[in-house]
Structure formats: structure tokens, C-alpha cells
Amino acid sequence: MRKESLKNFYYDYIQPLLVNKKSLIGLIILTFFILMATVGPLIVPLDMTSNFAERYQKPSLKHPFGTDYFGVDIFQQIVHGSRSVISLTMLASFFAVLIGTVIGVARGYLEGIVGRAIDAIIMVFLVIPSFPALLILAAVFMNYNLNVVEIALLVAVWLWAPLAKQISAQVLSLKSKEFVEASKMLNMPLRYILFSDIAKLLIPYIFINFVMQIKGAMEFSVGLMFLGLAKFDPTHWGIMLNYALYQAGALYTAKGFHYIFFIILNIVLLIYGGILLSQGVEEVFNPRLRGNE
């Protein structure tokens, strides 16, 4: 029985993703980065010893991505930094999407004073300027050694509100559909209506949002490091980019081109992989988007 349901799950959800070109390429890219984060540091050793005389070395066999302003191998840093990028930003995006979806669905479905109260909460988080709020958080949590999950939650707090607002609008339009009315008439429990009838249809939309949140989460996590809230990690891609742009001035010297290029390339690839996968997911689960059928 279980085997059968697993088989069905594979044919219903996994195989279509593998057949779709966009989702396949997206999956390959994301798998590459996940492997980089998990296995990479075990294979590629990290030597952060600076050597100013060897700064801005061009890409070569010895240094595949060249060296940075400190004369440290960029490739090694990218590999080791992927761990904190993947864990912190993905986790933060996940929490943001989770909070945004639950609150958004609840707001969209619930009416009356409860709905308005949730709406008010969403509005509050939409209008609070995130940077001053982060400064206050920095002051409050300065002496706590926060772990990755706690930091991810702190980041997510400032990212969920726009998604909740969008999802509540989607739910408002979905809840008047016939199949939801039918579920209501059949006295199906609220949990079923919310999460089986409505939330299911929002999956591709939520997934795209998850991918789009990665960029925001990355910016926030760098901000937190510079505020002293998160443990400072010089190999975090955001920190590397900050060093390259604002401290080493790599944009202002031709020698520094590769320094910025390889960091941005990896960030773009990671996000692009996610976008392709989310587009693929949408095409698979929304037949209207399947142009070739």
C-alpha cells in the first residue's frame, strides 16, 4: 500500500519535474549548490592566510576563480561560504514563506474582527522600516549567541508580510470558487478547506516566492553580520561581495574584475536555479502554462 502511494507520488510529482526542461535544469543547479555546501568543504581545504603580494591573481589552475584583495583563493571561499549561504538564507526564506503562507491563508479565509486583526498585523509588519528595526534587534540580542535557526527566524520576521498580503488576496478570490463552496456544504473541516482545497493551489506561487526571498534573505543576513547579530563569516558570499565592493574597491580597478564576477556569478546561478525550478513547478502543476501540450 505504502509502496503504491510512493509510486503514485513519484509519477504525480517527481517525474513531471524531471521531464520539464526548466525544472530539470533548476534541480541540477540547486543540487550542485547543495552538494557544494555539504560535500565541498570536505574536498576543498580552506586557507584564509592572507598574502597581500598575491592579491588579485587572475584565474588559473592553482586558483580557479583567482585570488581576492587579501590574496586568498576565491574558489575555496565560495565553496566554504556556500554552507552558510545555503543554510541561513534558505532557512530564512523557508520560515518567511511558512509564516507568510499560514497568516496569508488565515487572513484570506477568515472574516470579521479576527480577519481585520490579522490584516492589521500584516500592515504593521509591512510598514515598519526594517533597518531601524534591525538596529533595535541588534541592541536587544547583542549578548546572545544566536544559532542559525534563531537568526533565520529573525530575518524571516521582516520578510513574510508582503507574501502574506499577496496570498490573502489569492485566497479571497479562491474561496468563492465552487469546489470550496462544495466542501463547505459537505461540512468539511476548516483545516481541510484551508490546506487541501486552497493552499494546494497556491503551491507554485509560494514556491516562486520562496526563491525570490533568497535574495532578500541574503541581504538581511549580511546586514545582521554587520550589525554584530550574526556570527561574522568572512566566506559568506554577501560578506565577500561587501568586501569586494566597499572595502577593496574592486569595481574601481581592472585587476579586481574577477573578484566581483565570480561572487556574483554564484549568487546569480543559485537564484536562477531556483527561478527555473519554480517556473518548471508552475508549468507542471498549472496545465494552462504548458505551451507544448
Partner: protein
């Protein structure tokens, strides 16, 4: 009907926007026309402009006591009695013609031709009012017991008995001392300022003498000073009067968020020599903005921190750009929190001094800085040969990079290396956090390198950034293990006394809690650095005695390491020669040593002496 209405609205919108665009263009050109008209009578003498970069509060209030003061315009707006050139020890008279120092009395003879930019003469009454104002607003400097104006051009400062001999230098050279509160601008506050200043001094002197201060006196002072400060803080001369009368060489006339335009004070005592009549300040929004502005000749001079490769690129792109460096009269150091047991161990501090490669730290942080290769004696590197004798140098331990020496020191002190990690004699790993102020890029780069080197050696060091605006709070509350901070600094009075005062009886001792009053073994016997600083202060005029005390302080500082200096901070000055202005002095000219603590003083001096001239 509807379509007619739509057409009408469309035509109205187009006409409205077109008119707006033309009006906008008109507004942009108007000020320059006005400026041309106003400067016409002096066009033959002054037609030049210099563009610089700085910061200022916006909306601009023009009140030096208000938040942000007048920003980077300070040294163009307010003049001190004299400028001091640290490299030559020369005082250049500005608002003072001459001065006489007697025991506790300084008599300053003011320039008779000094006038404010609105034509009002600058007199001794303005100085008296300024002193009352700063004492009332800032509770400083109580070294001045009283100030008198026997005539319009003479000011007599009576100093308190506890005043240090270095205060005379501050009195003569501090920009705040002479012309901050002109009587004709602050006339509504004159009596109140004197009353609050007198009351504040009375309380201060009672406290200094160890006498009790009556409660009603304290209450009265708090009430009156609060009321006075609020009134002064709310005063915005630039808005209220529509101008800012200045005794300095330039007056701010138009201030926006991105640009401050200053016009020459046509009544300035050096006006006849000035060839530049306009200073334009561009907003220093970021270092990168300043780099780009220097490349494009948008500004003529600035002093941003700039990586080596960017400087090379800049010089290629803009051959008119020159660079020189002067000491910032301060060093960037690794400071320890002596409340933490780990750092009470001198052996660990000595080991750290040997582990760190200070040249490497300098290279990645501020490549132009002066490196401390061997010593940590509290004397700025650029001043070492002047203040430390060869005999003393031979007595000092050399802290060259030598990890083997560090290992030996640690092993002899009972530390041991287990695996890759060093352990203290109590079995705990040598682990701590290095805090660094996030917004200071060069400090962050230095911290990164320090952490890297210590971790490579086998310590467990983590880096923590202090958020913007929280540096004082974190450092003063002692909420750190070790940190990157200013160590010795000779700002104000460029003399070893200032640096040692800071280390043993000032800002650094306050944040590190180094036991400065303890006695330390030296070749001259057991000495306390705190007592030595007091002794040096008393014997400043006795050169031989002062030198002897400085040698003793240098020995204690080097051998007991209250801080480990990483590099002597320098001020890189970039200037465009021949694009808009020319006449910059040679790189060796001592005038550049005036830059630390107010680089605008150098520009002001060059303009008012007629050295800096517009390019024809």
C-alpha cells in the same frame, strides 16, 4: 463632452509640465546669475572656486552648539587664535596678533582688522561671550577660571591652578575658543550664558577641592543650564537671520542636502590675499562617491581611505591627481579588557605581540600607514626618533613576528598545545572574541587579519562587529574581550604626554581597565605609569626631566603591553593640481602636518595666504 474634457485635461497637463520644466531650468541658473552679480566688484581679484567633500547636518541650522554643528565647514567658519604646525612647532597667528603666557594668565592681543562677514568688527567681547557659551553648553573648559576684556582687542584668560600646561596650546589653537558665539548674533543669550557658566565653574571648583556642593546650588544649576541649553539648541541663525555671520574666511550661503556653497568673507583680514572666492562642498556620502568624484575632477581634494590598486587606477585615469600621506597622530591598536582574567596574563599578551604580523595587517588594512615592526612603546612611529633615545630602545623587548618565540613564552608560562588548540594552564582553551566597530572599514580589515593570524597559531578567536552608533556603549561598558581601537593618540596637543595620558588616565584606560596605578619593575626602580603621567604634566617645561619621564613611560608601555599597536594611522590626502586650482605645496611642506584633526585648516591656510589659486 467627455472627450472634450479629456483633451482639455491632456493639454493642461502638458502645458503644466512644460512650464514646470522651464521653471526648473530657470531656478537652476538663477543662483549663478546672482552670484556673478554679487561678486562682480571683486572679479578682478577673486574668481576662483575650490570643490571639496564633507558632511553637514540638514536642514542646516548654522548653530555650532546644535546637532552636527556646522559640519565640515567648521574651520572655514570659525578661526582659532593660531594654527600650530606640529612638524616645525610653529604657531601661525590667525585671530590673535600675539600672546603672552605668564604663570596662570594668558593675554591675547586680537587682530584689529578682523571682521565678521556682515561687516561687524570682531572684538574681545565676542571672545568672552564664546568662552561663557562653551562653558555653559559643554561644561568645558573649566581650566579658564575667568576671562576679561580690558579693551576691544585684548583678552585676558585667568587659568585655574589645576590647569595643565598643555592647556595653553588648546586655548590658542582650538577652533571653538575664539569666535563661536558672536555677541551680535547671540545677543539674547549673553547674560544667561555667563550666569550658567559661572554657576557651573563654582560647582566644579568645589568638587575639585573636595568640598561639598550645596543641594540648592546643584538644583539651581540643573534648572538654569537645562533651560539655557534648550534655548540655544533651538536657535538656528541660518534660518532666523537668513545668513550666518562668520569671522572665518568663508560663509555658507546656500545649503542643500547634497551641496554646500560658501562665499568668501569679503571683510576677512586676509581677504586681499585670497584668490579663491567660492568653496563648494559636495556631500561625502561614501568613500566610493569620493573616489569617483576625484577621478572625474568633480572635487579638488579629499582624504578618503583608498585601497592600493584603486589609487594606482586613479592615477592612471586622472594624471592631475596627486597623493601624499601625513600622520593622523594616532595608532590603531589591539586593546584588551583587563577585567577578563585571560588578558591579565602578561605572557599571553607578549605571545600575541609576537604572533601578529603587523606589516601584513597594515598592508590589508591601510597600506599607506606606518608599521610598528618591533616596539609597542606608546610613541607614534613617525615620532619615535624624536622622543626615544637609542639607550632606551636597547632596553626594550623587540616584538618582531616570531611564532617560535610566542610558543616558547607560552610553554614557559604553563600553556600547552593540544591538537591544534592552545590551552591555558587551567586547561581551558585560549578562546576569546575580537570586537571591532563595523562602520570603520579599515578596522574591520585589520580585525579580519588579526583573527586569521591568531587562529592559524592555535587560538580560538571569533570576530564580532559592533553596530553603528554603539561603539562607545560597548567599549565603555566593558562588554568585550579584545577589540580594535585607537590606542595612543596625540590629538590636540601633539606630544607624548597626550598619548600616555590617553593610555593611563584617559579614554583607553577607561575602556581597558589597565591597572595604571600599580607599580611596575623598570631599570629606574618600581614605577607607576599613572604617577609618571602626572609628573610629566608638571615637568612639561623642563625638557630634560620630561624626556627622562617619557623614557620611563615608554619602557613600561613596551614591557607591560596595555595595548598592542598595529599601525600608525595616516591621513592620505588626494588633490587635483591644475584642473580647477593650483599652487598646492610640495609633499614635504610642513604645512600638511596641520591636517590631522581638521584637514580644512590646511585648505583654509593655503587659500588665505594666497598660495592656492584658480587655474586660468
Amino acid at each position: 463632452m467627455n472627450s472634450v474634457l479629456k483633451k482639455f485635461i491632456a493639454i493642461f497637463v502638458i502645458v503644466f509640465f512644460t512650464a514646470g520644466i522651464f521653471a526648473g531650468c530657470g531656478q537652476q541658473t538663477k543662483p549663478s546669475q546672482e552670484a556673478t552679480q554679487e561678486t562682480k566688484p571683486q572679479e578682478t581679484v577673486k574668481t576662483g572656486e575650490i570643490r571639496l567633500a564633507t558632511d553637514w547636518p540638514f536642514p542646516f541650522h548654522g548653530n555650532p552648539f546644535g546637532p552636527g554643528g556646522v559640519g565640515g565647514a567648521w574651520w572655514f567658519v570659525y578661526e582659532p587664535f593660531a594654527y600650530y604646525i606640529p612638524q616645525t612647532g610653529e604657531y601661525i597667528p590667525r585671530l590673535a596678533e600675539s600672546w603672552k603666557v605668564e604663570e596662570n594668565k594668558v593675554t591675547v592681543n586680537l587682530r584689529k582688522d578682523a571682521k565678521f562677514s556682515d561687516g561687524e568688527p570682531f572684538t574681545s567681547k565676542d571672545v568672552v561671550n564664546t568662552v561663557n557659551f562653551i562653558q555653559a553648553m559643554w561644561q568645558w573648559p573649566y581650566d579658564i577660571e575667568s576671562v576679561e576684556a580690558p579693551d576691544d582687542h585684548t583678552v585676558v584668560f585667568n587659568l585655574s591652578k589645576t590647569s595643565s600646561s598643555s592647556f595653553v596650546h588648546t586655548l590658542l589653537t582650538d577652533g571653538a575658543m575664539a569666535s563661536l558665539a558672536p555677541v551680535h548674533v547671540y545677543k539674547d543669550f549673553v547674560d544667561q550664558a555667563k550666569e550658567v557658566a559661572d554657576l557651573g565653574k563654582k560647582i566644579f571648583y568645589l568638587q575639585t577641592e573636595g568640598k561639598p556642593v550645596p543641594e540648592d546650588m546643584k538644583t539651581e544649576y540643573e534648572k538654569k543650564s537645562d533651560e539655557f541649553r534648550k534655548k540655544v539648541n533651538d536657535f538656528a541663525p541660518f534660518k532666523t537671520l537668513g545668513k550666518l555671520p562668520v569671522v572665518g574666511s568663508f560663509e555658507p550661503v546656500k545649503v542643500t542636502q547634497s551641496e554646500m556653497e560658501m562665499k568668501a568673507n569679503k571683510y576677512h583680514w586676509a581677504s586681499s590675499q585670497m584668490k579663491i572666492d567660492r568653496v563648494i562642498f559636495k556631500k561625502w556620502s561614501s568613500n566610493e562617491f569620493v573616489w569617483a568624484s576625484l577621478i572625474s575632477n568633480e572635487i579638488d581634494a579629499a582624504h578618503p581611505s583608498m585601497p592600493k590598486d584603486v589609487v594606482e587606477q586613479l592615477s592612471t585615469l586622472n594624471p592631475k591627481l596627486h597623493v601624499l600621506t601625513v600622520s593622523d597622530l594616532s595608532d590603531i591598536s589591539l586593546v584588551f579588557n583587563f577585567k577578563k582574567p585571560l588578558f591579565k596574563d602578561l605572557n599571553l599578551r607578549k605571545a600575541i605581540a609576537h604572533i601578529l604580523d603587523r606589516n601584513k595587517i597594515r598592508d590589508v588594512s591601510v597600506w599607506q600607514a606606518n608599521s610598528y615592526e618591533n616596539y609597542a612603546d606608546g610613541i607614534l612611529k613617525s615620532m619615535e626618533s624624536k622622543w626615544i633615545t637609542q639607550d632606551t630602545l636597547q632596553k626594550l623587548t623587540k616584538y618582531n613576528t616570531d611564532t617560535a618565540a610566542a610558543e616558547e613564552i607560552l610553554k614557559n608560562a604553563g600553556y600547552k598545545k593540544v591538537g591544534d588548540t592552545w590551552q591555558q594552564p587551567n586547561g581551558q582553551p585560549v578562546a576569546f572574541t575580537l570586537s571591532v566597530y563595523g562602520p570603520h572599514n579599515d578596522w574591520v580589515l585589520a580585525a579580519r587579519e588579526v583573527v586569521q593570524e591568531l587562529n592559524s597559531f592555535g587560538f580560538k578567536v571569533e570576530m564580532k562587529l559592533i553596530p553603528e552608533g554603539m561603539r562607545d556603549q560597548v567599549m565603555r561598558s566593558g562588554d568585550y574581550d579584545a577589540a580594535i581601537e585607537f590606542g595612543s593618540a596625540w590629538w590636540g596637543y601633539p606630544h607624548p604626554l597626550t598619548g600616555y595620558q590617553r593610555l593611563y588616565d584617559g579614554d583607553v584606560s577607561a575602556i581597558t581597565s589597565f591597572p595604571a596605578k600599580d607599580k611596575y619593575n623598570t631599570p629606574w626602580g618600581e614605577l607607576s605609569p599613572y604617577d609618571l603621567v602626572l609628573e610629566l604634566q608638571k615637568n612639561l617645561q623642563d625638557e630634560n626631566k620630561a624626556m627622562e619621564i617619557i623614557q620611563q613611560l615608554a619602557y613600561i608601555t613596551n614591557e607591560y603591553l596595555p595595548v598592542i599597536p598595529l599601525y600608525e594611522k595616516v591621513l592620505p590626502i588626494y588633490y587635483n593640481d591644475g584642473y580647477r586650482v593650483t599652487g598646492w605645496p610640495s609633499k614635504e611642506d610642513p604645512i600638511w602636518s596641520l591636517a590631522p584633526g581638521g584637514i580644512e585648516r590646511v585648505y583654509d591656510l593655503l587659500i588665505t595666504t594666497g598660495k592656492l589659486v584658480p587655474v586660468k
